[in-house]
Symmetry: C2
Subunit: 205 residues, 2 copies
């Protein structure tokens, strides 16, 4: 998605260690007009797919998921990190390792809001090693719901998450795939449709 | 706001200890069409007020704030709980006590996204004892920004938060004010415009 790539180029900051900061518009300050365009793009990509619920995870996925959900006319459920005393009854639960925060979270979704009747689009801001997404997929499958697809804002194509999850047959639509980035020059290269990933290229080489 | 009161009556669950669960539509599963109506109502209430930024706090305020922000045409900034290694540079910081989670959080906003140029509408899902809102107000004031008002979805009128914050001269627009609720009968009473609060009535008695 050109609009998102342009924003990442103009406002994203590449840091050492494979860190891409997009907190000017995506996950601290949030440009809701951009989110609206992103929602329209996912709706176009998943046209005709019988999605009745969007699942995301706190915190930075929530804003994107809620604005996008308006295009699908469906509710959003967000997976909560750590058990709140205000969540009662039974929950679907899993553990997710966060490399950003260097800890393991318990992640839960109330059984009241996710079940076998649900056809789920998972939305999140980032896909890197795929730990968060794998956790959400485990929760959807435990609930007996159908994963209709995954919408990601920014995928780090140089990490394994996207490859691992697509290999399971899950449809992942990332609106921007960063193929390579350089913390010294600030340069960012994106992968486009039909282009072999650096990961595939390294396997074929 | 009648629509929100109706949803609280039909789907809210009153629990012992002053707990009102609205996770069917507000803070776990999220009805984005309802959020859109709430955003329209805040826009009507704050018509003509020069708001250029919406501030909220993770996690459950984010969805409401993002959908509401579309009515104002402004970006959202969410205050983050605990320091993330991905937040760099200087931050506005404060501590907020959560009675729900029985702990104290460090809450931060990057100085890049909140400053003296900002006219801020604070949005959150709940107002009870006011600890979270007081923390956000401290952050806005520390930044030298102007608090133009506060939009709350559900205020617990039987707790002191709303009273304390309005007494500071801050305009607080709560779309539903629960005046009384009964965990045994499930009954919920709302306060309406011009009505003396139970707290005021107890002072005057």
């Amino acid at each position: 998605m050109k609009l998102l790539e342009q924003r990442i180029r103009s406002q994203g900051i590449v840091k050492p260690g494979g860190v891409l900061k997009v907190d000017a518009f995506l996950n601290h300050q949030m440009d809701v007009a951009l989110f609206d365009e992103m929602g329209a793009e996912w709706k176009r990509l998943f046209a005709g797919v019988p999605i009745n619920k969007i699942l995301t995870i706190e915190a930075s996925g929530i804003g994107i998921a809620c604005v996008a959900a308006q295009h699908f006319g469906v509710p959003v459920v967000f997976a909560k990190k750590a058990k709140s005393v205000n969540i009662d009854g039974e929950v679907w639960a899993t553990k997710i390792e966060s490399f950003t925060h260097k800890r393991v979270y318990d992640v839960i979704v109330s059984k009241k809001y996710l079940g076998p009747q649900d056809h789920v689009l998972i939305i999140d801001d980032f896909l890197a090693n795929g730990c968060a997404l794998e956790g959400l997929l485990r929760i959807v499958r435990a609930a007996g719901a159908v994963v209709e697809g995954v919408g990601i804002a920014v995928e780090k194509g140089f990490q394994r998450g996207g490859e691992l999850i697509r290999a399971q047959g899950v449809r992942v639509e990332s609106l921007a795939i960063v193929e390579h980035m350089d913390a010294q020059t600030g340069e960012i290269e994106f992968r486009h449709a039909g282009q072999e990933s650096v990961l595939e290229a390294s396997v074929h080489a």
